[in-house]
């Protein structure tokens, strides 16, 4: 029995009220849901609360799952829509200024701008922190696209499967987000 068939069998059992199957389904889907939630980088809502909200929706609507697409795709769309609805009201953070950077982040950015040398582990940590700050200035959907494309290194086709958005919409969001980030970096140098 492959993964998909196994997941489908779990869904059928969970629909019939089998708690063990429902728990197994949650365990299997949790890493994927957590990844999507983290991609949105929620500020107001905690990651765990958002994941909880998503799973409750999944089980409330399990009777509507037709089985035409893999359960992981169906759940990932619920996750994306829940995150989007939850974070729509969240305002983007104000622009980042050079004075907001730590010493390490400023040095790392200088290093990236002037040399081809690979960054040291400390500087990589600073790079991750700076990317977090920069992404916080984007809209939630732009954040998700940038996270999936560049930090999780997923293809546009994969993002399409997860989000249900068209390839054109994904590319436009990525383009706009990169424009904003480029502008921001220009202001930090």
């Amino acid at each position: 029995m492959d993964d998909d068939e196994h997941a489908r069998a779990l869904v059928d059992r969970a629909r019939d009220g089998d708690d063990d199957a429902a728990r197994e389904l949650i365990r299997q889907l949790y890493p994927m849901v957590a990844k999507i939630v983290r991609g949105y980088r929620p500020r107001g809502a905690a990651e765990e609360d958002l994941s909880q909200m998503i799973f409750v929706k999944v089980f409330q609507n399990l009777a509507q799952y037709s089985g035409k697409v893999p359960i992981s795709h169906w759940v990932s769309r619920i996750a994306v829509n829940t995150c989007r609805n939850q974070l729509t009201a969240e305002k983007a953070r104000p622009e980042l200024r050079h004075a907001d950077l730590s010493e390490e982040q400023a040095a790392m950015l200088e290093n990236l701008a002037t040399s081809d040398e690979a960054l040291s582990p400390d500087r990589k940590l600073a790079a991750r922190d700076l990317v977090e700050k920069l992404l916080a200035m984007l809209k939630p959907m732009e954040r998700l696209v940038i996270d999936m494309l560049y930090l999780q290194e997923r293809s546009v086709a994969e993002i399409q499967k997860v989000t249900g958005w068209t390839a054109a919409a994904i590319k436009i969001k990525a383009f706009r987000a990169r424009q904003k980030l480029r502008r921001q970096i220009g202001g930090l140098l």
Binding site: G17, A22, R23, A34, Q52, L112, R178, R182
Partner: protein, 96 residues
């Protein structure tokens, strides 16, 4: 100085970190099942099915009982003639 596009790409590449799969928090699954049950008007599907079957059986019993009561009440009016004659005979013999 490199252009901003290049800096942004290098920044992203440097920020990629293998994120270990986050473990499910302890008791998360139990919490989800409890929340789903609490939000469902009929509790678990098994209870809902049981309640549905019980309701159907109760309706059938009520319907049968109603038919029985109706037939019993109407049958008194149509007593066969021989019963009426027998009743009259008994009443007259008791009267004597």
């Amino acid at each position: 100085m490199k252009n901003r596009e290049e800096i942004l790409d290098r920044l992203f590449r440097s920020a990629i970190a293998p994120v270990p799969p986050k473990e499910m928090p302890f008791g998360f699954d139990t919490r989800i099942l409890a929340l789903v049950r609490a939000s469902s008007p009929n509790g678990s599907p098994i209870i809902a099915l049981f309640a549905q079957r019980a309701a159907v059986i109760a309706l059938a019993v009520i319907a049968l009982a109603s038919v029985g009561v109706y037939r019993a009440s109407t049958s008194n009016d149509d007593l066969p003639a021989e019963y009426t004659m027998a009743d009259n005979a008994i009443q007259s013999s008791l009267g004597e």
